[in-house]
Amino acid sequence: MIRFEQVSKTYPGGQQALRQVNFHIAPGEMAFLTGHSGAGKSTLLKLISIMERPTVGRVLINGHDLNVIHRRQVPFIRRDIGMIFQSHQLLMDKSVFDNVALPLIIEGHTHKEIAKRVGAVLERVGLADKSRCLPITLSGGEQQRVGIARAVVNKPPLLLADEPTGNLDPKLSLEIIRLFEDFNQAGVAVLIATHDLGLIARMKYRTLTLKKGQMITDGLTEEWPGDDDEPAI
């Protein structure tokens, strides 16, 4: 599904965010991406959603090289990727319903279809009764679920989450992760970037660890060495 081949990213100014990263995430797989702040987690996700382009190497989604995707095609790529952010990125002056409906409006669905699908997805994230509320009136966990609803409303085959539990307490974090597991079980590939090691430790999922831009571990959580400076492999 997602394949990185010798990917390096150097930002203008010389800061090297990623160094020769290689990995592959299979269709329908769920994986965590972890590392200290500044290790390159966000950069890695940005390369997948084409917010940044690699300096060297190739990023492939479903066998398609993202280097050859033209600027004009980027919006269409993003429609295949559900993205969730720590800061939610909601429109604060629009209702929950309108926020979640946005990807469908952009794709040009009919009113009836939009109402049906937004209703269904809000039901699924447990916000069916909040659809007329403004996001500002919701709690942090609820806002994050609105963000997730928006990411999955057009049923993308791939979900990316950047610190989705960043501002949430452990209980709420677990609820959010359970939600991702639900979608994963429905066949969606999920890649979650987080530095919440406690959360990862409770899960049995593949974990990719970045350190100073390099992929230092890639394996199941059981083999994960913890927050150790020495790579175990």
Binding site: K46, S49, M51, I61, N62, H64, I69, R72, Q73, P75, F76, I77, R78, R79, D80, M83, F85, Q89, L90, L91, L102, P103, I105, I106, E107, G108, H109, T110, E113, R150, P157
Partner: protein, 326 residues
Amino acid sequence: MSLLFKGRAQGAERVGISPLQQLTMFFVSHIRQALASLGELWRNRAASMMTIAVLGLSITLPSTLYILLKNTERVSAGWDQASEITLFLHRSTQIGDIHQLQTRLGLWPEIEKVEHIDKSQAMDEFKQLSGFGDALNHLDDNPLPDVLLVTPTSKHTSPTAAGLLLDKLRKEREVEVGQLDIQWLERLHGLVGIAKELVSVIALLLFLAVVLIIGNTIRLNILNKRDEILVMKLVGATDAFIQRPFLYTGFWYGLLGGLLAWVTVALLLWWMSDSIAKVAQLYQTQFSLDGLQGDALLTMLGLSVFLGLAGSMISVHKHIRAIEPK
């Protein structure tokens, strides 16, 4: 079709909407965005009104000047064809020769009629009109020459044809001086021509200013909605989709500004109609200003909409592209 995933249909095709329905949805979404832009203008009434006023007044000035010019042209167009050639004859010419000349010229195909103004008759008229009556009585003999007024046929009233005719008439032995009464008209036309160019230049500068003002207003709109645009880009909105509401805003600015200009021009003309009527009365003519009608009105509204769209397009093109999620 999805670019990345074969078999994953995107958007409308996934739910099996027919092409006709898709086309309908396209228009429905356009209308929805157009109305949303209008609603947006309404919510920021004060700011919108100011922008519309700037646009409207900027269009009012050239439009008013244009109307005044058009009316000047309309009035002077009537005078264009009335050319008359005045021939002053040698004072030594005998009355018999004059009559002979008059008959001879009357036979020319270019000439409609020839009128003789006798020098004593001319003197009487001059005494009456000039107010020099008594002084003129002291003159020993009449200093005025006999005059022939030549009216060309309608084919030869244009300035060039009449000029040619004048040259021909000057060659007659009895003619001392020949004058064409359209020279001052040519000068008037020259002046009107300059005025026209001036109006064009003023209009051009004002239109440019309008485009810049609209462009800047739209730029501020875009920056105000920066966050919204970022989110839309994140969930896969194309630039075309994002810029549409802003283009509609420009369209509405143009249309409303144009309508405002129309109303202002009408008010101005109404305001001026009294004083113009007074002037017309002095010249003992019936004259009323033609306002903006039909084609001219449509042209003005079209131009106004065009300016609004052009301003927003420039702005949108530059700034929406620059906002990218980082």
